[in-house]
């Protein structure tokens, strides 16, 4: 079993290094094929591990070697596959295998095809380190690793120039990549502080040691640790107020958006909360804050998705919103439901993104849904996939989203937090509306793309086949809920609805369903026949507020980016040039001038030298005598 852990972990690394060998050479299809095969090997190993753990109930724990061993600090390179990590492993490797195969088709015209696979596999490796590590330090390494790969992949088309924010809200791929990276650094500082607090108080970073010491720790320490860790999670999972990078990250190639910015990396924050649940479950204030923030973000992000015109950005907002749901569940103590929604969401959201990628490929990079419409005739399969994924996202039974999202909403009711419950129900309606607004505007109605001279075509057959596992899972994943519950409660605390909620479960489910269906119906009425734009609505205050993302990017620019740039400029012209540079230059100039001055001594005339020497000897003599007299 141990070798399976190593195969699952290192196959993506081998894939990355292999693809890296060809990074500078022209497109080679076999690079993509080999990478996909290695990822598939990793997926199979993960599934076998999962089967082993499910049947025997025993965790697989390996310690590869000692990594850091200084004084009291001992951190091994240890990896483990337990119920939580194996769930993540299966989800990550499955989605990444599909995305790798998809990328062979999607990136076929890109000259950096081989480099893309190298980055993509490196990401998977980092993500596996993150989920499989048996200590916080290894988790942090993976955490930073996925950050770097995310940066590399968002900025994959780094040669595109910067444009104004009005033209493209994310300015340019390299700008978006830097934004994502810097925002994550802010949050990672919180994460690091959390790790320091934990190590300072428990003397270890191993999960089992840390969690066993929790009863001995003061509540204030635990609250501080939980809050600091959650700040880290907020950055990686793009929670308010660090959320702006996620939609800008859509500048990256679509497979990247599907893998990193929907299915896996952004869920790392949720994973952290689930993994560290013993800490969060004894800090009710922090947990309640997580739940409240999650609910707020779910609502907030969904509201921005209502009016957006960019196909990928709508899905990005929806990811943000669904992450909010996951945090709401985790904050309310329903960790296994959060993990279940994470897995289910990964399947249908990746499918949705890959479908969007098909549309983008067909539309030659055009993402404005107001310029699409009627694509159903040309792209039947993509329509089916995206429709299916949207149904799952909207929470229509019996698809995956219904089971996982409904459970979260039910949890909010069960905890008695009715405000959160109401917001989550409303958000479910908004989710249904914006998902189907996008689907209807893209695939139904009049064929608006014709006036732009675009001739869309369906994606390659093998790509559509590769997407099918996700589609199947988006449909059936929900039926595994009870099985998953019995599997995961070996590790995570079980969460049961109270008797009262249990009686009301049908009514509650019906309320959510009615809200969701009415969202879909509203979208159908408004958009299925074709696009009717009304000047009045689009110039309204709320529409403008939502379309401009509540002006938050502009506020950040005005309050943080610009003052920071001004301060930097001031420091450069005043402090750096006038003080730091001047000091260094001054030393150099003094030495240079003294050398230039004493150059005149070197006349080449021996007699002069002898005079200098005699003078020097006299001076030394004088000093000797003087010091003798004085001392």
């Amino acid at each position: 079993m141990e070798s399976l852990v190593y195969i699952a972990l290192f196959a993506p690394l081998v894939s990355s290094l292999f693809a890296g060998l060809f990074a500078m050479s022209p497109r080679q299809t076999f690079v993509g094929v080999v990478s996909s095969l290695l990822l598939f090997v990793s997926f199979v190993s993960s599934v076998l591990l999962g089967y082993h753990i499910a049947t025997t109930g025993a965790n697989v724990h390996v310690t590869m070697m000692d990594w850091i061993s200084v004084a009291d600090l001992h951190i091994p390179f240890g990896f483990m596959a337990d119920q939580v990590s194996v769930t993540m492993m299966v989800v990550v490797t499955l989605v990444s295998t599909v995305v790798h195969i998809y990328s062979i088709g999607y990136m076929d015209h890109d000259k950096s095809f081989n480099r893309f696979f190298s980055y993509l596999s490196a990401f998977v490796f980092s993500m596996l380190v993150l989920v499989m590590s048996d200590n916080f330090a290894g988790l942090f390494i993976g955490w930073e690793g996925v950050g770097v790969c995310s940066w590399l992949l968002i900025g994959f088309w780094y040669h595109k120039p910067d444009v104004s924010r009005e033209e493209n809200p994310s300015i340019s791929p390299s700008w978006a990549a830097n934004e994502a990276f810097i925002m994550n650094r802010i949050a990672d500082l919180g994460m690091l502080v959390g790790l320091f607090i934990i190590f300072w108080n428990t003397g270890s970073l191993q999960y089992d040691v840390v969690f066993s010491q929790i009863p001995n720790l003061a509540p204030a320490v635990l609250t501080a640790a939980a809050a600091a860790l959650f700040i880290g999670a907020m950055g990686k999972s793009a929670q308010f107020p660090l959320h702006t990078w996620l939609t800008d990250a859509m500048e990256g190639p679509t497979p990247v958006s599907a893998l990193i910015h929907a299915a896996t990396m952004v869920t790392a924050g949720v994973f952290l909360v689930i993994r560290a649940n013993p800490i969060f479950s004894v800090t009710p204030e922090v947990s309640y804050f997580i739940a409240a923030l999650g609910t707020f973000v779910a609502f907030f992000a969904a509201s921005m998705a209502l009016v957006n015109r960019d196909l990928k950005r709508i899905i990005a907002f929806s990811t943000l919103s669904q992450l909010g749901y996951m945090f709401a569940a985790a904050g309310l103590g329903a960790y296994w439901i959060a993990l279940f929604h994470l897995a289910a969401h990964a399947f249908f959201k990746a499918l949705l993104f890959l479908g969007a990628g098909n549309v983008m490929h067909a539309m030659h990079g055009e993402l404005d849904i107001f310029k699409m419409g009627g694509l159903r005739k040309k792209m039947g399969w993509t329509y089916a996939y995206m429709g299916l994924a949207s149904l799952a996202l909207a929470g229509i039974p019996p698809l995956a989203g219904f089971f996982s999202k409904d459970a979260i909403i039910e949890t909010a009711f069960n905890e008695g937090t009715l405000i959160l419950w109401a917001m989550l129900v409303i958000t479910a309606g908004m989710t249904a509306f914006y998902s189907f607004r996008q689907v209807f505007l893209t695939f139904l109605g009049d064929e608006r793309y014709k006036e732009f001279g675009i001739h869309p075509h369906e994606m390659y057959g093998f790509v559509l086949i590769a997407m099918s596992p996700l589609a199947i899972l988006a449909v059936i994943a929900g039926f595994f809920r009870d099985w998953f519950n019995s599997f995961i409660i070996h590790l995570l605390p079980n969460y049961e609805m109270s008797e009262h909620t249990h009686h009301l479960a049908l009514i509650l489910g019906a309320i959510v369903l009615v809200v969701a269906v009415s969202g879909i119906v509203l979208a159908y009425i408004k958009y299925a026949k074709g696009l009717q734009r009304s000047e009045k609505t689009e110039n309204g205050f709320i529409y403008k507020l939502l379309a401009n993302q509540y002006y938050i990017p502009k506020i950040y620019e005005a309050l943080i980016t610009k003052p920071y740039a001004e301060i930097s400029k001031l420091m450069w012209t005043k402090v750096d040039i006038r003080i730091v540079d001047a000091t260094v230059d001054g030393i150099a100039k003094t030495i240079y001038k003294s050398g230039d001055g004493s150059r005149k001594m070197q006349t080449g005339n021996l007699s002069n030298y002898l005079n200098w020497m005699a003078g020097g000897a006299l001076v030394l003599l004088f000093i000797t005598v003087a010091s003798y007299v004085i001392g």
Binding site: R599, Q602, T603, G604, N605, L606, S607, L610, N611, A614
Partner: protein, 100 residues
């Protein structure tokens, strides 16, 4: 009675004469003479102090200096002859080829 101080004063005067010669003279040969005077000033001082302390190592050192000076003159004069053959002069003001 002639004491240690008298010898040391003579040695000091001899050294000063030699030093002035080194500083003022322009001819390399004369510089050699001047250094010889300075070496002998040191010899006088060594011999006198050796006698004063009843310690023979000072006189031994003086002999040593005489031997070194002799060999130095032998080599030095040889070099001077070569230099004269090459440059046609021993005047230091005309030999300033190493100006920086």
């Amino acid at each position: 009675m002639i004491g240690l101080n008298h010898y040391l004063i003579v040695a000091g005067l001899l050294f000063a004469i030699g030093l002035i010669g080194v500083i003022r003279r322009r001819n390399l040969l004369m510089l050699f003479f001047a250094t010889e005077i300075m070496l002998n000033a040191a010899n006088v001082a060594f011999a006198a102090i050796s006698h004063y302390y009843n310690d023979l190592s000072g006189q031994m050192f003086a002999f040593f200096i005489v031997a070194i000076a002799a060999s130095e003159v032998a080599i030095g004069l040889g070099l001077l002859i070569l230099l004269y053959k090459k440059q046609g002069t021993l005047d230091l003001d005309d030999l300033a080829t190493m100006k920086g």
